[in-house]
């Protein structure tokens, strides 16, 4: 560990960047706003991808791959869509040494190219539902970028489904939202708020956008995944009709949904501390590191013991033996803590004599002495406990920093001081929403998925008219 990590209390943004760079998760690329995902970061992304991919396949989706380059004219077919994405496009104007007749856009998202293909593939209700996902890179030209959280190129998955009815599309939209919520909570150990976006905040081209929102340690919100009901917008733009069961023609109903490498940023900012990264065991590429502690005369015994330990554990856990003899155990402790490995096993000559080892938890720092013979089982239990503890800790933090507020004065005071999520009654008008944003920089992160009556009898915190929703406001990434 060459440099020290800036403490969160001193400079939260720098703390985040220090962890990303020093834990070797990512690095700045020579092209502005782009990143290189280094092996430590990519291994984490692979774990996340594999779990999500399994969840998509369990819910009936298949993977495919659509082209990177989209004809300029395609993007223009859906009016809101092109308006939303125009400022962010990267444009190819030369190919094979010649100027192109029509510029090609590097996909910022793939609705248009995919719906141009769905027109070929969908004729009848028998072709529906069509449930396709793709893992891909996309490019959105961003002015202010930050590693993982907002980069010009990023990796993501985008699901694109086609359905017979509006109801089915809505059902799919919510099903995938809850797949994301389950993934965030059960694997990333990040509690999230699931809800609907307002008109102002929805995806360009969607009828409804749903979101999962997480709270970072600086109490700002981070949008961690979105699921869109696209209605018939793209089917109409690309003239995708199908023969219904009763023989008429109708436009197809659509959804799309995605999560990206941004999730890695969310993971870091939810769990990590001033020593570095903390990884939830279910997503940690390495779960356990063994560190031998010896002097010259005990070296052979300790290394041999550690080697046997490594061999006995490696079938069951993802384990690394750090037997490099150029670094001290203390240096290694810091280095592996920086990298976020959930559990450390310390083995010294006296531990071997006593037939026990020391386990050190990354989440709490707690050291636990464990008899060698029950080690394998205890590791599993402790990893499970770390997973649960990380979730509980984050859930408590989120709960403690969520405030129910009805008066605008209180709202402004809390947004400016403590921050966090503020649940407040809102009339549903864009005007109030935008005024609040202008005056406080807080946006509506989510409203309840259906009007659940919670706001009955309450007044909008801005205009004082009857409230429609209890909306959740926050400053956000």
């Amino acid at each position: 560990m060459a440099e020290k990590i800036t403490p969160r209390s001193e400079n939260y943004s720098q703390w985040y960047i220090d962890i990303v760079l020093q834990a070797k998760l990512a690095d700045y690329a020579p092209v502005k706003g782009c990143m290189v995902i280094r092996p430590n970061g990519y291994a984490l992304w692979e774990k996340m991808r594999d779990v999500l991919d399994g969840m998509f396949k369990e819910t009936g989706h298949k993977n495919a791959y659509f082209p990177l380059l989209i004809p300029d004219s395609f993007l223009k077919r859906e009016a809101e869509h092109v308006e939303g994405f125009s400022p962010e496009l990267a444009v190819v104007t030369y190919g094979g040494g010649e100027e192109l007749d029509e510029p090609l856009i590097i996909r910022p998202t793939s609705e248009t190219i995919i719906w141009s293909m769905y027109k070929k593939w969908i004729q009848s209700y028998r072709d529906l539902p069509l449930l396709i996902n793709q893992w891909a890179n996309v490019v959105r030209w961003e002015k202010r970028t930050r590693l993982f959280l907002r980069t010009t190129e990023f990796l993501w998955q985008e699901g694109h489904t086609a359905h017979e009815t509006a109801d089915e599309a809505q059902e799919e939209t919510l099903k995938m939202l809850f797949v994301y919520k389950k993934f965030a909570e059960e694997y990333m150990a990040i509690p999230v708020l699931a809800g609907e976006k307002t008109e102002n905040e929805k995806f360009a081209g969607a009828v409804k956008t749903y979101t999962i929102e997480a709270m970072m340690q600086d109490r700002k919100a981070l949008q961690a995944g979105t699921s869109h009901n696209l209605g018939q917008n793209f089917a109409k733009a690309f003239d995708v009709t199908f023969q219904t069961k009763d023989g008429t023609l109708d436009y197809v109903w659509a959804t799309s949904w995605g999560v990206s490498t941004r999730l890695i940023g969310a993971l870091i900012m939810t769990h990590s501390d001033d020593k570095g990264l903390i990884l939830p065991p279910r997503l940690a590429p390495t779960e356990v590191v063994i560190i031998p502690i010896y002097k010259n005369k005990t070296k052979a015994t300790v290394l041999e013991y550690c080697n046997r330990l490594y061999q006995s554990l490696r079938g069951k856990y993802s384990v690394v033996l750090d037997d490099d003899d150029q670094n001290t155990p203390g240096w290694k402790f810091s280095e592996w803590e920086l990298q976020g490995i959930p559990l450390r096993i310390e083995v010294g000559p006296r531990d071997i004599e006593k037939e026990e080892v020391i386990l050190a938890r990354r989440d709490t720092g707690e050291k636990i002495s464990v008899p060698s013979k029950s080690l394998e089982q205890r590791i599993g239990e402790i990893l499970e406990d770390i997973q649960n503890n990380l979730f509980k800790r984050a859930a408590t933090f989120k709960q403690e920093n969520t405030h129910g507020i009805e008066a605008y004065e209180d709202f402004k005071r809390i947004i400016d001081s403590d921050g966090g999520f503020i649940q407040a009654p809102w009339c549903g008008s864009s005007e109030c929403e935008l005024r609040i944003k202008e005056e406080t920089k807080a946006t509506i992160r989510a409203i309840p998925i259906s009007n659940n009556g919670d706001a009955n009898g309450k007044k909008c915190l801005y205009c004082g008219e009857d409230a429609k929703f209890i909306a959740t406001f926050a400053k956000s990434y």
Copy 2:
């Protein structure tokens, strides 16, 4: 199965395209030269990727991800490299609504961007070897394209390694060549010729390029994977030096190696027949399909039996039950044969009575009656046998169509009639190589990895001077 597949004997190229389209492996994209990989094709690619990825990790490599966009100036740093790739580049000139100061190139391959990062990451011999692989999309502007075999955008993996010594780099180059050979032969069931490329045919920027070459059913060669020893070319272009063990500074030694979605084209053209695709069981996303055969009064019994069968097999094999009642069994036989599923289980009421089922092999068409109680085991044995049979069949074909020839007249006659691989003595001069290419369209696909003395006493088939190698010539994709 809506359309008939053109027989190979009638039109080999059309046969290939018919299979790709009708087995729904890929489709033409709206952008010229690009393809959409449909779920059937992508599931196959995922299987291939997972096996290869495991082999890369076993040999110590880690995955990472480098940016899609490369500054124009980077590509120009290695003279041969830019000359080789210039005609094929796609160029981004606008980003975020503004003209860029420096155009960005969509990666045709990533040596330059990766070595610009290796400069930051490598200081000392302790940072070496650096063994990194990336799975990515690349773009090369191609004039003549064909689905999977040559497309403007394709998916691939590219390994990029850095080493202390020339010897280590050479060892890595050959190690990965033989990983590819093993994958091709043991998983794809494609026998390949491993060898070195000539100066004319090597990668732009490499010191040496090695290749695996497969023989398609039209007896043309297909380059299926390449591994390059890059020497210090890219280290010098990007000024990547390291402190050696004895304290001096040296440039780093490099390799790169890749295989792409082109392999799917090789797979199709090696094994398939006039009924459609044939998949080797080890890569088949679906290994077994169950087809119930019933009349109205036996329907319930047969479906219930098939369902139990499906449940009992699904833990062990990747199996599909086709219980759609809109299509006849005959239609289903054809459809699943078209899709290349290795093994079909046919279940009718009389089979149930006799406590047996019929297995039909995709490779030979053979039907085998198997007692239900030994079914699970027999499926495994037959799948293994299909895998071996496909390899043997292809190996025999390759052997029968490989000719040892010493006279140029014979060479020309065979290249124009039978085709195939021709092993012929060659003096080693580019002039002879290029003349032969001009006159016959045959190129040197590979020369032996080291001069093994096979050519001793022989004369070059073109100029009659002393031969250095027995080179393998062929027309190729």
